[in-house]
């Protein structure tokens, strides 16, 4: 990205006030049905339509894709404006965006590697949630070992013919397009070669989708079978054989190790202050949980870590304070925030004492059993997008310089 123009503090403050006002006036009231914890668990049409309408509203108001070039549907403004919108959405815990695979992962790689034609074709409908995106990286036999993908795409005239199975495809059921990693040259030397990155249509007669149910009872991802699915060669992003490099770039956006996402939230924001509130309300072994010294100590531990994560996000943008390991904070972000969310939600449940056993739908459940579901869904972030163990490998090898295992 080119250097960004200076924006005056007054302009930013005015903008922030405008955003706050807009969010106050336009955020829809909570629906009668339950919303999911994130875009990953969208399980019903009503959830889907509610979130799609919200994304559209935000985009039409000019608060999404603000830093993307205006010729492709973006706002053409400095990143700082989108950051302010994101901040305010997080602070008020406004609903998250629906089309996250597009906004945060596919969009930035299309901007980075796509032709102008592709950018024009895909980005604006992505921002408006007119076209939904999904990601076809994982396969039943190849998860962490992503480079080993076996789905094939074989050139046939002006088309490619795709065969194979992708799995854990979030939003796959509703998606129009998939960022797909497939093998175009099965005879290439190493597993990293011969891979190509496609912007593949999956609203397609030869693409079959089978929903998978999650541990929470929700849906949201599926198997995606390609049965001789023919797609035009114009769907290739970058060059044939460049798939691995583009897949790695995608993961950098997905893990927020690199900036340039369209913006908005991707999940319900959870904060330690909510746990403090809950500890005040809940009784643990007959007493207010907040009076228990062990509870207080753990709340403090979590508060310190939450603050450290916030401060990392600020320090990350000050190169002079990150000289020795410039990539560390960016690359560790996914590991740190997902593991934090898992520990925090687990502790939240423990504050409820015996009521911790109750689940969504039981009238006696604390906060309708939301924390029980938050805890289970926390694994979606410690596993999805590359597991915590894989993140530790990456950090150990790339940032600390230790040998590969």
């Amino acid at each position: 990205m080119s250097a960004e123009p200076e924006v005056s503090q007054i302009e930013l403050d005015t903008f922030r006030a405008e955003v706050c006002r807009w969010l106050d006036e336009n955020t829809p009231s909570a629906p009668a049905f339950k919303l999911p914890d994130s875009f990953l668990e969208v399980s019903s049409d009503e959830q889907f339509e509610y979130l799609r309408a919200w994304q559209r509203l935000v985009y039409d108001a000019g608060y999404l894709g603000m830093s993307w070039p205006s010729e492709f549907g973006g706002g053409g403004r400095p990143q700082i404006f989108q950051d302010i919108v994101n901040d305010e959405m997080a602070a008020g815990n406004h609903p998250f965006m629906l089309n996250i695979v597009g906004l945060m992962w596919a969009g930035p790689v299309i901007l980075k590697f796509g032709s102008d034609e592709q950018r024009r074709r895909y980005l604006a409908p992505m921002l408006r949630a007119d076209e939904i995106w999904c990601q076809g990286f994982s396969e039943p036999e190849n998860g962490s070992d992503l480079a080993n993908v076996q789905t094939t795409a074989i050139r046939d005239g002006d088309d490619y013919i795709i065969n194979g199975t992708k799995i854990w495809t979030s939003l796959g059921t509703q998606a129009h397009h998939m960022i797909l990693l497939a093998r175009t040259d099965p005879s290439a030397g190493t597993k990293y070669q011969g891979l190509t990155f496609f912007l593949a249509p999956v609203d397609h007669p030869d693409v079959e989708k089978r929903p998978i149910r999650k541990m929470t009872g929700e849906f949201g991802f599926n198997e995606t079978h390609f049965n001789n699915a023919r797609v035009p060669a114009s769907c290739v992003l970058g060059e044939e054989g460049q798939g691995w490099a583009i897949a790695m770039a995608t993961l950098a956006f997905e893990r927020y190790a690199e900036g340039g996402q369209a913006g908005g939230l991707d999940m319900v924001q959870l904060r330690v202050s909510e746990l403090v509130e809950m500890a005040r309300e809940c009784r643990l072994d007959g007493r207010p949980a907040i009076e228990d010294p062990v509870v207080r100590e753990e709340l403090v531990r979590l508060s310190v870590e939450e603050r450290a994560i916030e401060m990392n996000d600020l320090r990350r943008h000050i190169p002079g304070l990150c000289r020795e390991r410039p990539d560390a904070i960016g690359l560790m972000r996914k590991l740190v925030t997902s593991e934090f969310r898992r520990r925090m939600t687990r502790f939240a449940v423990s504050l409820q004492g015996e009521a911790a056993k109750l689940y969504i739908g039981d009238p006696g459940a604390v906060e309708d059993g939301d924390w029980q579901r938050h805890y289970m869904n926390a694994y979606s972030v410690t596993i999805g997008g590359g597991t915590s163990q894989i993140q530790m490998n990456i950090l150990g090898e790339r940032v600390l310089g230790l040998d590969k295992g």
Binding site: V300, V304, R307, M311, G320, D403, G405
Partner: protein, 386 residues
């Protein structure tokens, strides 16, 4: 709103030159040599440090200081922590700051230039045998007797007590905390006992005050002593936190080096996930420590005396303490039997961490305070009712 984390060119310049200086002049070998001496530090090097302006880095230029902030100050301390550097730096810095906070003009003009130029070494006598980290309720006493102040009681854990020419003694006078300047020559040799510390690069002493008598002009009268002591206590926690953040980084580097050279089962041991993954969490601990440290110094320099500052300093000490004590613990294990030897530098860091964790409050102490700050209106379960 204050900037969340401030950054300036000066700070980066100081940080990188401090690190260069520490690495070239304070090798682990040199640290081990100084460790064997009585004073524990090298006087020629001390003079150099004074010339670099580090002894008065955050004090005003009118006293010979550099007029910079806590942000620049901790950059130096972090670098010292990385090399397990000892010396009376902490003692002298805190003495100068206490004088600056609580001394009257005459006291400041007389003493500060001497401490900042390194011609005299100062220290603060805060702790007592109770081990309380919240200073204020002192059993050491001062009594006015004509033109003299007579002292009684005992001070413990006095940083570089045996090296100091000048001691700022915290005690109570008529039930209120005060600070009295005591020169080393006013304390009989038999009243000072050098303490034996886990960290052999450090020095401290226990001082019996009974029979010590100083002119009444030795009382610091520039400001309310209890406020100054509270502030000093926070500054102490902040500096030790910086030291621990630096030490955690230093021991991370040391251990990584070993993991990249030692071979077992035909592979570098760093390739094993049982070692690699914990190293990643140590790095995360260091990154968290630095972010919270710079947040705290930013607030310090913004001039806050607020609860927000107290909160930030305590969080910083908790985080650096946890990160550093964990890093040194794993460092010993990951070096195998070599890590258990005297010759392995891991022990220097290990012992430093033990010292620093219990200086100006351990992590549990600061977490207790944080819980009071965070849950102000919620009564904790009292021990007796449980």
């Amino acid at each position: 709103m204050a900037e969340a984390i401030s950054f300036g060119e000066e700070q980066e310049l100081i940080a990188s030159s401090a690190l260069d200086f520490m690495r070239s002049r304070c090798s682990f070998e040199a640290v081990r040599e100084w460790m064997e001496t009585e004073a524990g530090y090298d006087r020629a090097l001390w003079r150099e440090i004074a010339e670099l302006g580090w002894l008065g880095i955050s004090l005003p230029e009118e006293y010979g200081g550099s007029g910079l902030g806590a942000t620049e100050q901790i950059s130096v301390v972090e670098a010292m922590g990385r090399q397990v550097f000892g010396s009376p730096f902490l003692a002298n810095t805190l003495a100068a700051e206490l004088l600056y906070l609580a001394g009257n003009d005459e006291q400041k003009q007389h003493w500060l230039p001497q401490l900042i130029s390194g011609t005299r070494v100062g220290s603060v006598a805060l702790g007592e045998s109770s081990g309380a980290w919240d200073f204020g309720d002192f059993t050491a006493r001062a009594e006015l007797d004509g033109s003299q102040i007579r002292l009684t009681g005992e001070k413990c854990f006095v940083l570089d007590g045996g090296n100091a020419d000048l001691l700022l003694v915290a005690c109570s006078l008529g039930g209120k905390p005060v600070v009295v300047i005591v020169e080393r020559s006013q304390v009989p040799d038999t009243a000072l006992r050098v303490e034996r510390l886990v960290d052999e690069t450090r020095r401290s002493a226990r001082i019996r005050l009974d029979g010590v008598s100083v002119p009444k002009e030795s009382l610091l009268t520039g400001a309310d002593a209890s406020g100054a002591l509270r502030r000093l206590q926070l500054k102490g926690a902040l500096l030790v936190s910086a030291e621990m953040a630096g030490a955690a980084q230093g021991v991370l580097d040391l251990t990584l080096e070993y993991l990249k050279t030692r071979v077992q089962f035909g592979k570098k041991i760093g390739s094993y996930q049982a070692l690699k993954h914990p190293m990643v969490w140590i790095m995360v601990g260091v990154e968290h420590s630095r972010s919270l440290l710079y947040r705290a110094t930013t607030l310090w320099d913004a001039g806050g005396g607020s609860e927000e500052l107290e909160n930030a300093v305590r969080m910083s000490k908790v985080q650096s303490g946890d990160a550093c004590t964990h890093a040194v613990d794993r460092a010993i294990q990951f070096h195998g039997a070599f890590g258990f030897t005297w010759d392995c530098h891991a022990q220097l860091f290990f012992r430093r961490a033990q010292w620093a964790e219990y200086t100006f409050g351990d992590a549990a102490h600061h977490r207790r305070h944080l819980s009071e700050l965070l849950f102000k209106d919620d009564a904790p379960l009292s021990v007796s009712s449980s």
